[in-house]
C-alpha cells in the first residue's frame, strides 16, 4: 500500500468521489480559488470546475442550510467548515434541521450531507480557534459523527460518509494533516461508520481515544512498552454511533481503562465513555476509570499556558500510572 499523508488521503478521496458521482459537490469558504485554507481541496477546482467545487461567501448558516436543502433533492454536498469553531454559526441548521429531517418527516426524505471540519487546538490559536465541539454533535440523535486518526481511516471513512444517506459530521485535525500512513488503492475500500478499532493490542490497560489523541495514545503505548507496561489502544473512529462492544471487550480483558479526548473535562466525550464502562464492565474493573481531557478554561494564547491546557502524552502517561496504581480521582 502506498504511504501518503492524511491531507493527501482526503484530497484523493474527494477527487475520486467527485469523479464517481455527478451529484457530489464541494462547498465551503476558500476551497476553490484559494485552494483550501488547509489545502485539503487543492487542485479540485481546476480539475472539476466551479459547478462541482463551490466557493461560498462567509455565511455558514446560509450555505450549510443550502447544502441540506440541496441534499433533500438528491445532491450529495460535502461542506467544508474552515474550523469547527465556525460551525456554531450554522448549528441551527445542523441540529434543528439536518439531524431531524429524515426521522421527523417519517422517513420520506434523506439528507446525504457531509460536513467536514478540523477540530481541536494546535499552535497557539487562542480561545476562539482551538475548541473541540464534536461532542455537541455526537450528542444529537440523527447525526453520524466520525473522527479518523490515520490516513487509512480518513480515506475509508470519507468514502463511507459521502456514500451514506444521512448527515455525517467528519472531524479532522490540523495536527494530523501532515501525518503519514498506508492507504489502500482498492476502489471498494471503505471503513464502516459505527465501528471502533483496536489500533494496538495490549494487556495491562485500555486507552480509549479518537482523532489526534489516538496518535498520542499510540506514541505513549510505544514508550511504555519499554517500561514493561502493555497498553491496548481502542480508537473510536465513530463517536455516533458509539461502538461500546469493542470498548467493553478490551476493558474486560485489561481490567483498567483511561479515556483521553481534547474536549473539556466536564460533560465531554470522556464522561460518556467512562459512564458506559461503569455501566457495562463494572465487575471487571480493578481501578476507577481515569479521564484525560482539556483543562476547563477559554484556551489562553501564551505558549506554555496554551500547551498546559490541552491533554498531552505526559498527562496520558500520568493517568496510566494512576490507573495501574488503582488511584482514585484525578
Amino acid at each position: 500500500m502506498p504511504i501518503i499523508t492524511y491531507r493527501q488521503a482526503l484530497n484523493d478521496t474527494l477527487g475520486e468521489e467527485l469523479a464517481r458521482d455527478p451529484n457530489v459537490l464541494l462547498m465551503g469558504e476558500e476551497i476553490g480559488v484559494f485552494q483550501g485554507s488547509y489545502r485539503i481541496t487543492e487542485g479540485l477546482l481546476q480539475e472539476f470546475g466551479p459547478k462541482r467545487v463551490v466557493d461560498t461567501p462567509i455565511a455558514e448558516e446560509g450555505f450549510v442550510g443550502v447544502a441540506i436543502g440541496a441534499a433533500m433533492l438528491g445532491l450529495r454536498p460535502v461542506v467544508e467548515i474552515m474550523t469547527i469553531n465556525f460551525v456554531l454559526v450554522a448549528i441551527d441548521q445542523v441540529v434543528n434541521h439536518a439531524s431531524k429531517i429524515h426521522y421527523m418527516f417519517g422517513g420520506q426524505v434523506r439528507v446525504p450531507l457531509v460536513i467536514r471540519t478540523p477540530s481541536g487546538g494546535t499552535g497557539q490559536l487562542g480561545a476562539t480557534h482551538s475548541q473541540s465541539f464534536e461532542n455537541w454533535f455526537a450528542y444529537c440523535p440523527g447525526l453520524k459523527v466520525v473522527a479518523p486518526a490515520t490516513p487509512y481511516d480518513a480515506k475509508g471513512l470519507m468514502r463511507a460518509a459521502i456514500r451514506d444517506n444521512d448527515p455525517v459530521i467528519f472531524i479532522e485535525s490540523l495536527a494530523l494533516y501532515d501525518t503519514k500512513g498506508e492507504v489502500p488503492e482498492d476502489d471498494d475500500f471503505v471503513v464502516p461508520i459505527g465501528l471502533a478499532e483496536v489500533k494496538r493490542k495490549g494487556s495491562d490497560v485500555t486507552v480509549v481515544s479518537y482523532s489526534r489523541m489516538t496518535a498520542v495514545a499510540l506514541q505513549v503505548a510505544q514508550r511504555m512498552e519499554s517500561e514493561g507496561i502493555s497498553v491496548e489502544v481502542v480508537d473510536l473512529r465513530s463517536l455516533r454511533p458509539l461502538d461500546r462492544p469493542t470498548i467493553m471487550a478490551s476493558v474486560k480483558k485489561t481490567n483498567r481503562a483511561v479515556v483521553i479526548a481534547e474536549d473539556w473535562y466536564s460533560y465531554g466525550v470522556t464522561a460518556e465513555i467512562a459512564a458506559s464502562i461503569q455501566e457495562e464492565a463494572f465487575d471487571y474493573l480493578d481501578a476507577p476509570v481515569q479521564r484525560v481531557a482539556g483543562i476547563e478554561v477559554p484556551l489562553p494564547y501564551a505558549k506554555d499556558l496554551s500547551a498546559a491546557s490541552k491533554p498531552s502524552a505526559n498527562s496520558l502517561i500520568y493517568a496510566i500510572r494512576q490507573v495501574l496504581k488503582g488511584s482514585r480521582g484525578r
Binding site: 446560509g62 441540506i68 433533492l73 459505527g194
Partner: protein, 355 residues
C-alpha cells in the same frame, strides 16, 4: 420594485368559472379544517403547539393555484392550509395532528412538521427562519440538475428579522436560484407588531440590497396572489431570478390556538374579520358575478363539512405508532451499534411501568 397601492382588479369574465369555484371550495376547506382543528385541540385530540391559517385562505389558495407539480414548497409551522391546498388529502393531515401512524409524517412530526414527498411539500419547519436556506438549497439543486420548477420559501413577517433570511437572500441572488420568498405579512410575529420588530416596515423592500425584486400583494385577494406568483414564478424559472412577495393578510385569531390575543385591539380584530374575510368576500364576488348561486354555495359548504368530518373520523380510527418503531426512521443508511425494535420496545415498557 413596486408597491401595489390598489390591488389589480382581475377581470372575472376572462376567468375559467370552474377554476374560480375550485378556489372557493379550497378556501372553504381550509377554513372548516382549521375551525375543526381548533375544536379537536380543545378536546385534547391534538397536542403541542397548533397554529391556524384562519384568515390566510386567499394567500394560500392563490399561491397553490399558480404553482406547478414540479415546484417545491417549504413553509413555517403555520402550514395546515398549505399542504391541503397543495392537494394532499385532509385525512392524513388530520391524522398527523392527532399523532397517528397514518399521518403525513407517520405521526413523528405533528402540526408544525407536515410533509408529503409525493406532493413536493417539503415540510413545515418550526424554528423561525430555518426553512429559508433549505428552500434556497432545493432551488440550487433544481438549477444544478437542470430541472424545471421553482421553490417557495414561505415565512411570516417576523422571519424577515432573522439572519438566516438575509443570508438566504444573498445566496439565492448570487447563485441564481429559482426561489420565491413568500412573506405572509399578517402584521404580527406572535405578539410583536411589524413596527415593533422591523426598522423597515415595508417588507417588500427587504430584498433591495440584494438586488432582489419585491412586490406587495393584497393577500386577501386570491386572484391577485395567484397572478403575482404566476408572473414571478415564470421569471424565476426562466432566468434563475429570485423574487420577494409581501402578502398583506389578516390573522383571524391569536398566534396559536391557546393564544388569547390580548395584545390586539378587540375592535380592530372584529373589524378585520368583518372586512378582511377572504372566504366570505370571494363568495360574494362569485355570487355577484353569477358564477356561484346560493344552491352551489350551500352544497359546497355541506361537501366541505363532510370531508372535514371524514378526516376527523379517519384520524380517530387510525392507530398510534408502535413503541417498537421508536427508532424506525433514525437513519436512512443503517449502521452498526444503533438501537432497534427490541431496545425500543423495552424502553417503552420500562417507561410505562410494565417491566
Amino acid at each position: 420594485m413596486t408597491r401595489v397601492e390598489e390591488p389589480v382588479r382581475t377581470d372575472l369574465a376572462a376567468e375559467n368559472a370552474d377554476e374560480l369555484r375550485h378556489y372557493y371550495y379550497q378556501m372553504l376547506l381550509l377554513r372548516r379544517f382549521e375551525e375543526r382543528t381548533s375544536e379537536m385541540y380543545v378536546k385534547a385530540k391534538i397536542g403541542g403547539y397548533c397554529h391556524l391559517n384562519l384568515g390566510e385562505e386567499a394567500t394560500i389558495v392563490g399561491l397553490m393555484a399558480a404553482l406547478k407539480p414540479e415546484d417545491y414548497i417549504f413553509t413555517n409551522y403555520r402550514e395546515h392550509g398549505y399542504i391541503l391546498a397543495r392537494g394532499v388529502a385532509p385525512g392524513p393531515v388530520m391524522a398527523e395532528l392527532f399523532g397517528r401512524e397514518t399521518g403525513v409524517s407517520g405521526g413523528r412530526g405533528g402540526s408544525m412538521h407536515l410533509f408529503d414527498a409525493k406532493a413536493n411539500f417539503m415540510g413545515g419547519y418550526a424554528i423561525v427562519g430555518g426553512q429559508v436556506p433549505l428552500a434556497v438549497g432545493a432551488a440550487y439543486a433544481l438549477r444544478y440538475q437542470g430541472r424545471p420548477g421553482v421553490v417557495v420559501a414561505q415565512m411570516g413577517d417576523g422571519t424577515t428579522n432573522i439572519g438566516a433570511f438575509y443570508e438566504s437572500l444573498n445566496l439565492a441572488k448570487l447563485w441564481k436560484c429559482p426561489v420565491l420568498f413568500f412573506i405572509v405579512n399578517n402584521g404580527f410575529g406572535m405578539g410583536t407588531s411589524v413596527a415593533m420588530g422591523s426598522s423597515e416596515t415595508e417588507l417588500w423592500r427587504k430584498g433591495a440590497s440584494f438586488r432582489i425584486h419585491g412586490e406587495q400583494v393584497d393577500g386577501t385577494d386570491v386572484l391577485a396572489v395567484r397572478d403575482a406568483v404566476r408572473r414571478l414564478r415564470t421569471r424565476a424559472e426562466a432566468e434563475g431570478e429570485p423574487a420577494l412577495l409581501d402578502l398583506v393578510s389578516f390573522r383571524f385569531r391569536g398566534h396559536s390556538v391557546i393564544d388569547a390575543d390580548r395584545y390586539r385591539d378587540p375592535e380592530q380584530v372584529r373589524k378585520g374579520r368583518e372586512t378582511n374575510d377572504p372566504v366570505r368576500n370571494f363568495a360574494a364576488l362569485l355570487h355577484d358575478h353569477g358564477i356561484a348561486d346560493d344552491e352551489w354555495l350551500k352544497s359546497t359548504a355541506i361537501r366541505v363539512d363532510r370531508e372535514v368530518q371524514e378526516a376527523i373520523d379517519f384520524a380517530n380510527a387510525s392507530p398510534d405508532p408502535k413503541g417498537e418503531d421508536l427508532f424506525t426512521y433514525m437513519y436512512a443508511t443503517p449502521v452498526p451499534n444503533t438501537p432497534g425494535p427490541e431496545e425500543a420496545a423495552r424502553a417503552v415498557q420500562i417507561n410505562r411501568g410494565e417491566l
